[in-house]
Amino acid sequence: MPDIENTGQANIYISRVLLVGSGLGAGVIALGLLWFLLQPGNGNTLPAAPVTPFAQLADQLDHVGPLTVINLGLLLLMITPIVRVIIAVVSFFLERDRKYTLISLVVLAILLFSVRTALA
């Protein structure tokens, strides 16, 4: 295995992305929940609230409600690992490490394939 120290700079970026991404996602979810609870007319039972498909999410952005905010917060969390892989691709590329640039590109492709199922 190559020296771990070489990827020091990438480590710092990845670590920041992870921290900011997860913190931001959690914060947005908290805001959405708070907004939802402050709305009048909530019954005693929890209504079913499935996530909005990507295609309709864009339409919802015109009239954002608490559920949309929670949805966006969850998506923010879900996207964080993908951003992490993108940073790995870039940093391996900058290090001219072809093998690992390729490996992380394949991982990225697999992830994007999975995201695509959500777009369909």
């Binding site: 991404g21 959690a26 499935p50 996530v51 498909p53 969850l74 892989v85």
Partner: protein
């Protein structure tokens, strides 16, 4: 409404706290809790758990990555297999009847309890905190062996993750440590780094099926996030060995409940 919300958030905090304290991750407690106590359908519970797993993995891995303990190259290589396994697992979950998922989860709980009894490392501290938790940044020299075994095990770990919503560290860490010659601390950190990516691979499949419920996921994910952060912070200061037998009992009891439910037998008091 507020009571259900508080219950879900509190459950998330407890699951995240003890999950990270024992090095098992939140999923192993969150899914039975949602399914048995809150009556959330198995696939929805798995979907919520996957997002919680991503959140905690990101928060935990940021620490490990910064301490340069995780081997990003090894992690990325094994992720080739975990992500594929996770997609297969996620798609499979859509086809299996919920009883089958419940039974499989019961078996996973039994396996986890067994690993705890035999002190097999899940996240490096399953049997109690390691003696060597000085924050040394020196990683011993090592040569990765048996990469094909590692890739096979990673595919399987990804499968379990995508199917049952847990991180899969309980499979990856022992394989990296015992078969691949990776030091335990590096294996733990690398596994943590990988878990979020693996979970993301199947989370979008659950999302596309509409299995993720906003009002369940919101409070639970927040709770797990907070609980896990607290748990991992005090992890080194708690003698988890004292907790071990209590949680082995909890896991066995939960496993029994899941198996009974999966086989449609009378469910005992929970």
């Amino acid at each position: 409404m507020l009571i259900t919300f508080s219950g879900l958030a509190l459950g998330g905090i407890v699951a995240g706290f003890f999950g990270s304290l024992l090095g098992l991750g939140g999923g192993i407690f969150i899914i039975p809790m949602l399914n048995l106590i809150f009556g959330v359908e198995m696939r929805s519970a798995v979907a919520v758990s996957l997002v919680a797993v991503i959140a905690t993995s990101s928060a935990a891995a940021s620490v490990y990555v910064q301490e340069r303990l995780s081997d990003i190259r090894l992690g990325m290589t094994l992720e080739l297999a975990t992500t594929l396994g996770a997609i297969v697992g996620g798609l499979l979950a859509g086809r299996l009847p919920r009883e089958a998922l419940t039974v499989l989860f019961g078996l996973l709980l039994l396996y986890t309890a067994g690993s705890m009894v035999r002190n097999i490392p899940a996240q490096g501290n399953s049997g109690g905190p390691s003696r060597d938790n000085s924050r040394k940044k020196v990683v011993p020299e090592y040569q990765v062996r048996n990469l094909s075994v590692g890739l096979g095990a990673s595919f399987f770990a990804g499968n379990i993750s995508g199917l049952l919503g847990v991180g899969g560290g309980i499979i990856k860490v022992p394989v990296m440590y015992l078969s691949m010659g990776v030091p335990l601390k590096v294996a733990t950190a690398t596994s943590n780094f990988m878990i979020g990516v693996t979970a993301a691979a199947s989370a979008f499949i659950y999302y596309s099926r509409g299995d993720l419920d906003l009002l369940v996921a919101g409070p639970v994910v927040l709770g797990v996030f907070l609980g896990a952060r607290t748990g991992s912070r005090i992890m080194h200061r708690v003698r988890a060995a004292y907790l071990k037998w209590f949680f082995v009992a909890v896991l066995l009891y939960t496993a029994m409940q899941m198996l009974l439910k999966g086989f449609n037998l009378h469910v005992l008091w929970f």
